[in-house]
Symmetry: C2
Subunit: 151 residues, 2 copies
DNA sequence: CCACTTGCGTCCCGAAACGGAACTCTGGTA
DNA sequence: TACCAGAGTTCCGTTTCGGGACGCAAGTGG
C-alpha cells in the first residue's frame, strides 16, 4: 500500500526504482543487453523461478522496456527484445558496472565493455552541461524543476 | 539459495545488484544523498517499516556504503552517512534520474541537479575512453577481462 | 528519586512475494 | 499416433515483508 504511493511521487529516481528495484527485474534487463532473449534461456541463466520470470517479463513489457515478438526458426517461439526505452537503460547498467569494478572486483574487471569502432573502453562520466567539468556528488545541489509537485 | 550464488559470480553488475537490488536499499541510499541521516527521518520519509530499515541499514554498513556515527546534539543519537564507496554511487543515481526524467516524467524533471559552481545541470554521459565519442548500447561490445573466471 | 519523552531499534503475527516442481497448451517431428 | 520442446500457468510450502506493540537507554522536569 504505502510502497505503491512512491510511484506516484514526482521523483525521477523513485519512479524507475518501483519498476526496476526488485531482486530480479534489472538482472533480466542485464541479460537482455547480453543478448539473452528467450524465456528458457533467461530462466536457466539467472536461476529465477519460471513463475517469477513470467511475471517480471510481463511488467517489463507493460512498462515498454521489453517487447514480446514471435521468433521464427522451425516453429513459433517468443523472444523478448529491448525497446528504445529499454536501450536507454544502458548508462545505468554501465554506471553500476563502473561501481562494481571499482568496489567489488578485487581481481580486476571481469568484463570489458569496448567501443566497437576503436576498441577503447566505455565508461560513464558525470559532467556539467554548461562548463563541462567532471563532477562528483559534492559538486551537485538539487533544485526544484518544472515537474515538481506544487506546494 | 540459488540467488545467493549470484553474488559469487564474477560480474560487476550482478554483484552490486545483490546488495542494492531490492525494494528499499537503493531508496535508502537516495535519501542519504538527499541528506537524510537519522533512523526516524529515513523511516518517515520512505514509509519503510522499522524492522526492514534496521536490516537494510545494517547491510549497507556491512558493505561499507554507509557508516554509523554517534551524533551529538543534547544526547547521543546515531546517524548514517555515506562513505566514499557510497558517494561513488552518485553516477548510478543520476543515470537512473536521467532515464526517469526522459521516460517517466511527463511534466518535466521534478528536480534539477545543478553544478554548485556554475549552475549548469549535471548529466551522465557514456563515452569511449580512447576516442572520446559519446556511445550508446549499440556501439559497445563486451570482452573478457582479467577478473573473469577461468575456463 | 521518579515519571515522562525521544531516538532507535527488536519482536511478533498476518499478508504478500517467492522458489520449485508439476501441469497445460501449442506446434512441430518421427 | 506418439513424442518432444518452448513457453508459460498452477499450486503449495517457505521466505520476506509491513506494521503495530514493545524494549531500552539517555536525557528532562519536577
Amino acid at each position: 500500500m504505502r510502497y505503491e504511493e512512491l510511484i506516484a511521487q514526482p521523483c525521477s529516481i523513485t519512479r524507475p526504482l518501483t519498476v526496476l528495484g526488485d531482486r530480479w527485474t534489472f538482472l533480466v534487463v542485464k541479460q537482455a543487453f547480453a543478448g539473452v532473449r528467450r524465456f528458457d534461456d533467461l530462466q536457466a541463466s539467472l536461476g529465477i523461478s519460471r513463475s517469477r520470470l513470467a511475471d517480471r517479463l510481463d511488467r517489463l513489457v507493460e512498462h515498454g522496456i521489453l517487447r514480446r515478438e514471435p521468433y521464427k526458426d522451425t516453429r513459433t517461439r517468443m523472444e523478448y527484445r529491448l525497446t528504445d526505452k529499454g536501450l536507454d537503460l544502458y548508462p545505468v547498467l554501465l554506471a553500476i558496472r563502473d561501481w562494481g569494478d571499482r568496489h567489488m572486483a578485487p581481481d580486476g574487471p571481469p568484463v570489458h565493455y569496448r567501443h566497437r569502432d576503436c576498441g577503447g573502453e566505455a565508461h560513464v562520466h558525470l559532467a556539467c552541461d554548461r562548463c563541462g567539468d567532471e563532477l562528483t556528488a559534492r559538486d551537485v545541489a538539487p533544485a526544484p524543476g518544472p515537474g515538481a509537485a506544487e506546494g
